[in-house]
Symmetry: D3
Subunit: 142 residues, 6 copies
């Protein structure tokens, strides 16, 4: 994976570990809940990650946008679907979201250029075919 | 349709008419764009309306929430799906969204209790079956 | 002045009095500052009130919007100017501002329909002609 | 308790019941967490409720403000302390918070005028004296 | 033009191109609309750019603030006018805007120090003198 | 004091000087007010700085968070108290605050690792013991 994403992953992972090590029970519970709400249910995880992307973008948090773009890409969201999502973000949230969309496009490019990504999506998709047979998709810690 | 929703529809419709009558070309263009982004494309209208609901709720606008709940219900979103959407809203947006979710549940109850609703959903669904044959779903003005 | 505006004025005036009576020195200082920044300076009060309207609308506070629409109308802002301001609000702030703009149009209608308003604007305008001769426009407490 | 507060309590209680009845496990967990974080710990519940008030006010949610003013009053927060809290809110959040502070003052007046309030605070205070002996303060559902 | 601004221009221009290349019709329409609303009309472009600055600052988006400061400087906004605008921002938006104002002052300094800027403003001003004779000011893509 | 904090202090101090030098009277008054509201009163400065931290975090301004963490640490806030404050932030503000909390934890680590910090807290505490004898704690400019 390319530069900006590597930095993002490394910092997020290192500081989440610290937050959870030093944090109290309530903080751990919040983090657990934050993972649970995106798993497959009546709505598929894919739709929920798209919702997470929209929420992050209208609230304008770059790190949250990056995180959900990565997750959406893992769920096999296409470029065309990403850009229709950007439309909803732009219309609801206004031009104030444009700088975030510029950075989102940059993130998306990095993801598409990363060789490992392709494989991960394929694997994920094969898993999706067997879903419903008991194997709920595991989701990494935010 | 019951009380609160009727008031909502009446005021929205009356003031939108005024906005568009007195408004300039740019305002009309924005309203057109606002309709276009929720139509079927790479992502179905249903998913986009759910996105609109999430965006409205984390930005905490009751009228926008009401509007998208109505539209989602028309698209056949189930109670279970609504509540999973509320989970995403609650976790991303925090407890500050709770009063809006209380009002959202009230709105949802009114919609479910309205006899006309049932029929509209059914009709819509039959339309969806014939979609893809050229008949892109028309969407009423926001 | 018609119903909604009378209620707004009465509540604002009554509660501001209480805030300032019970409030400490810092609260009074903030209220003073809040009046000072809208007075004529390098930029005319009229432009600053329009700025106040834009800020209130993108931050989506109905009472603040109502207040600045009243003040802008007093400064002689025309309907055409109001609607161009609404365009900026709509594009920067997104469709989430639409319900606020609907209520803003309603407020504007009440103001235009109020007979006393016409006179106030005229008086104000005569004052503006003599401005620069020492008579900085007084501004009522927010 | 007077009018506005009674309406607030009644609606909140009724809709929270519905949210929890229809809601899934994740929603219940969020509500539990929302109660837990305000209980006594390294910081007393009183300080946390004041924090909740500040957060609600700068995010500008009237119902959340009402809730935390009620809780702060139960914790024995004095008018002078409330107004210093309003100062912090006003300076950090800006004049956009003023309409919320006007309504907050109205809520506070209703609470102070309610005869039952006085007693509740006294009881709470006696409880606080025996705190630390094992009896963590119970907190009603938000 | 000095360092920070060059980086800003280069990234904005490069990513806007990508957004518009890959983006669908709706995205293009939003970008067009975003340009149109700042052109001269009942209100001059200068006032609208100041509004854009205020909106960007109270919504706290550094890139949007940078963009509108550049545009306002091109429209001949003076330092005194900028600082009165900062006052409105500070009072409406609160101390939470201070870090953005610190960066805004840095941006303004870079603009004033850039030799090319002086010339552009002068040219623009001569254009303004001939305005009204049909030559509506062109505005570069956001 | 370590790297990130030094950069923060240096930029803040340099740009605040410029803001106040070039700024008008209203800007100076806002800055004064911003200092006054955090001084000891009915509520101790410590509680107010914690409020400032909560407000900054739910409004999601990293520089404001950094500033108030520094001030809270000077007031002797313990790690356990910081993490309970993070809980309130997380629950009220939602997962959108998580990236800010990651950076907050990093800031806190830097502060705890800085040798000079320890001494400053001790000195401050001795000052606090003599407080109430007339010596209101001085507070540096934001």
């Amino acid at each position: 994976m390319a530069g900006k994403l590597t930095v993002f992953h490394e910092f997020r992972s290192r500081m989440n570990t610290k937050l959870l090590e030093k944090g109290n029970l309530q903080l751990k519970r919040f983090f657990n809940l934050d993972s649970q709400v995106y798993t497959d249910g009546a709505l598929p995880s894919r739709t929920k990650e798209l919702m997470g992307l929209v929420a992050s973008a209208v609230l304008r948090c770059d790190d949250c946008i990056t995180y959900h773009i990565i997750r959406c890409a893992e769920e096999g969201v296409s470029d065309e679907e990403f850009f229709e999502t950007f439309n909803v973000i732009l219309v609801v949230g206004g031009s104030i979201t444009i700088p975030h969309l510029r950075r989102a496009v940059e993130t998306l490019e990095e993801i598409r250029a990363a060789p490992s990504q392709e494989k991960k999506v394929k694997n994920r998709r094969s898993n999706e075919e067997t879903r419903g047979k008991g194997a709920k998709g595991k989701r990494r810690q935010r």
